[in-house]
């Protein structure tokens, strides 16, 4: 559980372009104080009289103590909401709620940790690397994307990581291919004890499959469309296997976004698995056409 999330009207401190992405740093003391790596924030877009009702969720990239506490997040322009965010200037007000979600669990004893990021999913991994360093963990990075301008944080990874492996689909940076392709070799070379991954769903699925083969724990941070980020709207659910072995449709925003990879039924994301708790046609269906559309 996040400490206690707060809603603040933050002030944009700086905006910057990072290759294909945008990064906003916002003065938001209440959120920065409570932050732990893996937390996310939600941002209201479009101004006070907007027709865009749902908040946008972003993983926190970095927090700093300047100006009482700042929060930085990274995003790609995908629609009118993120386009509005990309137009923000320094000193603009921004309505933020955070920190939200369950952060990355950290190993109790020093361990070798492999941090895997796809696209701008690597944004939350650097604060995690800091926290791991403080616990005397070794940190290695694997970052990848479609092309070199979409690999986020390669320089910082090189500075922070014992080793850094970069991949691009078009071969414009590092190895040609995806992070999943190079992962077995990197795990073998670094003798990783644990893997942390953040990025698109297909990548998390691939990373989890490799980690299961190597029999090492993997923590994945899942991205799913959500309207509220606080656990009330029930729209961001994924099928996850619980401690009791039963599959439940759980909310990414409050039960996640960080899950043990092998617990997430990636093959069934976007469906209600027939054996999920309360699935239609189960012990007491009552639901007509619950499997309609997929």
């Amino acid at each position: 559980m996040a400490g206690t999330p707060v809603q603040v009207t933050g002030t944009v401190l700086t905006t910057r372009r990072v290759d294909a992405y945008h990064a906003l740093t916002v003065v938001a003391p209440g959120i920065a104080d409570r932050f732990r790596p893996g937390h996310f924030v939600t941002v209201a877009v479009g101004g006070p009289h907007t027709s865009m009702l749902t908040r946008r969720a972003f993983a926190v990239h970095d927090v700093k103590s300047d100006y009482g506490g700042t929060v930085e997040f990274v995003f790609a322009v995908r629609g009118p909401g993120t386009a509005w965010l990309a137009d923000r200037k320094a000193r603009d007000a921004l309505d933020m709620v955070g920190p939200l979600g369950r952060p990355f669990p950290l190993p109790r004893d020093p361990a070798t940790c492999l941090l895997v990021g796809g696209e701008y999913g690597s944004a939350p991994l650097f604060a995690l690397a800091d926290a791991l360093h403080q616990r005397n963990c070794r940190v290695d990075f694997v970052l990848g994307a479609a092309s070199s301008d979409r690999v986020f944080g390669a320089l910082r990874a090189r500075r922070m990581g014992e080793t850094t492996t970069l991949t691009t689909q078009d071969g414009s940076l590092g190895m040609r291919g995806s992070v999943v392709d190079v992962l077995p070799e990197v795990i073998a070379d670094t003798r990783a004890d644990v893997v942390y991954a953040c990025g698109p769903m297909p990548m998390l699925r691939g990373v989890t499959a490799v980690c299961v083969q190597f029999d090492i724990p993997v923590q994945v941070s899942v991205e799913e469309a959500m309207a509220c980020g606080t656990g009330v709207c029930m729209t961001c659910v994924v099928p996850v296997i619980g401690d009791d072995g039963a599959t439940r449709m759980v909310r990414v925003c409050v039960e996640g976004p960080v899950f043990r990879g092998e617990r997430v039924r990636f093959d069934d994301v976007g469906t209600i698995p027939f054996d999920a708790l309360g699935a239609p046609g189960g012990d007491r269906g009552g639901d007509r056409g619950g499997d309609r559309g997929r």
Binding site: Q7, L53, A227, C228, V232, D283, D287
Partner: protein, 315 residues
């Protein structure tokens, strides 16, 4: 500013709408749920329900579509874990119930009848009736009335039964009258009308379920119209107005149309502090207009036009 839900007194007229306040725990870090007029739970069903596949949500102009499919743990888990948490804190709780048949609604009402901490029961009539090829109860006056009558008979006499009506029906007044005649103590208006959105990039419906309930400010005029029509036809029936309320002004609009309490829904997704803010704004607006009591403003928009002018001219 007190409000009444049938004979039950509430400390204020601002409620959290069904399905928009989670179990209460999710909202608690932001706003004290005990200071709400009442908190309406998501619709409780007999068995656990996994709900619909994702995507379940699509943003639309000034609104959103959702097809969650009443995901929930079922009535047993609700009574074991969720209702006691609310009751311990003294939260006034309106329990929303959803079923696929008259028998399921009745069974739910029986389970709730002895549970402590139920301020009122709200019947979500926008559920598909499995015995009528999935036609929702809210579309048919006879089946809606049957559900209301059986829930009213199963509930304790001092717990009000509220029927929640859908706006996308041929004659909302007829459905409202049928519910009241069969024992509904109050009516909730409006549930989400059904809408649809298609993603032109994937060229598929935006929601996995195809269609979904439309909510948010986009539907406020529908809510005002329904509250207006029903208050005009049944002026003695308490109405809970809801549909796209984002501010005190929006709440006042529904009050003037005839609502004696107002529920806040989708706005809670956007602004978890919305309820106390809307209450404060509503109180200020009423004081500015010289009202000491909410009841004096309820349905005031129905008064004949230019009455004051006529009185002056008759001198």
């Amino acid at each position: 500013m007190r409000a009444y839900l049938a004979h039950v007194e509430l400390p204020n007229p601002i409620l959290a709408a069904a399905g928009c306040a989670g179990t209460g725990r999710e909202l608690a870090p932001f706003a004290d749920v005990t200071r709400l007029g009442a908190l309406t739970t998501r619709s409780i069903t007999m068995a656990p329900r996994a709900g619909r596949p994702t995507p379940r949500m699509a943003e639309t102009p000034s609104g959103m579509l959702n097809a969650v499919g009443l995901q929930g743990p079922g009535v047993d888990a609700f009574l074991a874990r969720e209702l006691p948490w609310l009751a311990e804190r003294g939260t006034r709780t309106v329990v929303s119930i959803g079923g696929g048949s008259v028998a399921e609604y009745t069974a739910l009402a029986r389970r709730l009848a002895d549970a402590p901490g139920v301020t009122a029961v709200e019947i979500n009539l926008s559920c598909p009736n499995v015995e009528d090829r999935g036609r929702v109860f809210a579309r048919d006056a006879a089946t809606a009335a049957e559900v209301v009558a059986s829930v009213r008979a199963a509930m304790r006499y001092d717990v009000p039964v509220v029927a929640k009506l859908a706006p996308d029906v041929a004659d909302v007044v007829a459905i409202a009258r049928a519910c009241v005649d069969s024992g509904a103590d109050a009516l909730s208006m409006i549930n989400t009308p059904i809408g649809m959105s298609i993603d032109v990039d994937s060229m598929r419906p935006a929601l996995a379920a195809g269609a979904g309930g439309l909510s948010g400010p986009a539907i406020r005029p529908l809510a005002v119209r329904c509250v207006w029509q029903v208050h005009a036809a049944l002026p003695g029936v308490p109405l809970i107005g809801m549909g796209g309320v984002t501010s005190g002004r929006d709440a006042l609009e529904l009050v003037l149309a005839g609502a004696c309490a107002v529920a806040v829904g989708t706005t809670l997704f956007h602004d978890p502090y919305a309820c106390p803010r809307i209450l404060r704004e509503l109180e200020e607006l009423l004081h500015e207009r010289g009202f000491d009591r909410l009841a004096d403003a309820v349905g005031l928009a129905h008064r004949p036009a230019h009455r004051n002018d006529l009185e002056e001219s008759s001198l």
